[in-house]
């Protein structure tokens, strides 16, 4: 584990390190003794049948869930004790777009910028990049899943996380939205940031470094 005294310069070349992570929901084991190691700058894809535990694994890495047993560190920060540091540097994109229905696309992003101290000036550029600038003033309530996910992508663009986590991001998306997600992943890979993604879809070409298979709560390595 990494000494927590080192704050500004993390000696971490490891983005994700999970050791013996088990997560139970009551008597149901979702993830069992998972050991995962993702180096900085890697793009790793998790594959596996529904209910295999991919979502649980991602959510643990995102600090949305804490492991029932086991330990880990994300970007050099302890999974249990330094969650806010992890949250500062990572972002999770899933089927749930985490938007406020009664606010417009621009207002949603403006809220997040105000909350996180991000540059509000970047909002228009981010919306344009995902092709949502024209409808920026309309309420989210009328939007399709593809449009919502594009707003979520714009939010991630503004946040520039060091670790990008994606849980079945392509579900229910149209072509334009899928393109926006691919674009986000490619940009992260280009910048040397880390990506961990669970999906049934093929990953954007030539981006994924590794593929891991998850089944019955365990990780089975597939490609080197």
């Amino acid at each position: 584990m990494h000494p927590s005294s080192e704050t500004s310069v993390r000696a971490a070349t490891v983005a994700i390190e999970l050791r013996g992570v088990t997560r139970l929901f009551g008597t149901i084991p979702a993830i069992v003794r998972a050991n995962l190691r993702v180096e900085r700058g890697e793009v790793v894809v998790l594959r596996g049948p529904n209910g295999a535990g991919k979502t649980t694994l991602l959510r643990i890495a995102a600090t949305a869930l804490s492991p029932t047993y086991g330990r880990g560190s994300i970007l050099g920060f302890d999974l249990e004790r330094e969650r806010e540091e992890i949250r500062l540097r990572s972002d999770l994109l899933s089927h749930q777009t985490r938007l406020y229905e009664d606010l417009s696309a621009a207002e949603n992003l403006a809220f997040w910028c105000r909350l996180l101290g991000l540059e509000a000036a970047g909002i228009d550029a981010a919306l344009e990049r995902v092709g949502m600038l024209e409808v920026a003033g309309e309420r989210v309530r009328g939007f399709s899943q593809g449009m919502r996910q594009r707003i979520a992508v714009a939010r991630t663009v503004l946040r520039r996380p060091d670790l990008l986590l994606l849980d079945e991001p392509y579900t229910g998306l149209d072509a334009e939205a899928r393109h926006a997600v691919d674009d986000l992943i490619r940009e992260a890979a280009r910048d040397g940031r880390t990506v961990l993604m669970a999906t049934h879809h093929p990953a954007p070409e030539a981006v994924a470094h590794r593929e891991l298979h998850v089944d019955g709560g365990r990780i089975v390595r597939e490609a080197p």
Binding site: T22, L24, F25, G26, T27, P29, V32, R33, S66, T68, Y69, E80, G217
Partner: protein, 245 residues
């Protein structure tokens, strides 16, 4: 924290449990004798007043249990060790029984004395609010199936509830002082006859032992439940470290 845990471990061993059980039984018998036979009947209220020897200890335990819930809740949030959640849950289950008992006895006592079941006596009313908070605590535990979330939420309620009870009591006391009505129980030196006081204190001690005994029982059942769950899981999961004793 660890010293307390070790002491708790000792008390909850089988021999400790048996010793506690015997002590509790003895204390209850002694207390019953004192309150029913030895202590004289009240000059004003007559035999009915003997209800005090059960009512007051029950009320004392209602609050002691809740204090235990509070302490265990704080300990859980600080240490995240599931043992504290188990203690809080056990104490709440036992406490709610004593609380209901105290209120029922209070009503039983009040009927012949005041002619009505309920007089909004400040202490009794606060105890009734305590019962409602207990019930809310237990309801949340029942309704949440994710164990880590259940433990956290219950702990928060245990803490918030405990902090609220004194404020509730203060507001009820002020509220009731608008109407000067005597309470059932006047605890204060010269008012209580010597042997009555003794009987009362022995009753309190007896009930405390009963509480401790019930706690050890409940905690043992809880541990057995968890062991059963772990064993049911082990074919899929393998040997899991015992989260804590």
């Amino acid at each position: 924290m660890d010293v307390a845990a070790r002491g708790l471990g000792k008390a909850t061993s089988r021999s400790g449990e048996r010793a506690l059980g015997i002590a509790a039984l003895v204390a209850v018998v002694v207390s019953a004798t004192l309150s029913l036979v030895v202590a004289p009947p009240d000059a004003v209220q007559g035999e009915v007043q003997r209800l005090m020897y059960v009512h007051v200890p029950a009320a004392w335990l209602a609050y002691l249990s809740f204090f235990a819930v509070f302490v265990a809740s704080v300990a859980y949030l600080k240490t995240r060790r599931i043992r504290w959640d188990r203690i809080a849950a056990a104490s709440a289950e036992i406490g709610v029984l004593f609380t209901a008992l105290a209120i029922a006895l209070g009503a039983l006592w009040g009927k012949p004395i005041w002619g009505t079941w309920w007089t909004w006596d400040p202490r009794l009313t606060t105890t009734a609010m305590l019962l409602l908070i207990y019930l809310a605590y237990l309801a949340v535990r029942r309704v949440v199936d994710n164990p880590s979330r259940r433990a956290r939420w219950a702990a928060v309620i245990g803490i918030v509830g405990f902090v609220d009870v004194p404020i509730v009591h203060l507001s009820v006391v002020w509220w009731r002082s608008l109407h000067q009505q005597a309470t059932l129980l006047r605890i204060g030196g010269p008012e209580i006859h010597g042997s009555m006081l003794t009987a009362l204190l022995v009753g309190v001690a007896a009930f405390t032992l009963v509480y401790a005994y019930l706690m050890t029982l409940r905690l043992r059942v809880g541990r057995l439940e968890e062991r059963a769950v772990r064993e049911a899981l082990s074919p899929q999961v393998g040997e899991l470290e015992e989260a804590d004793a």
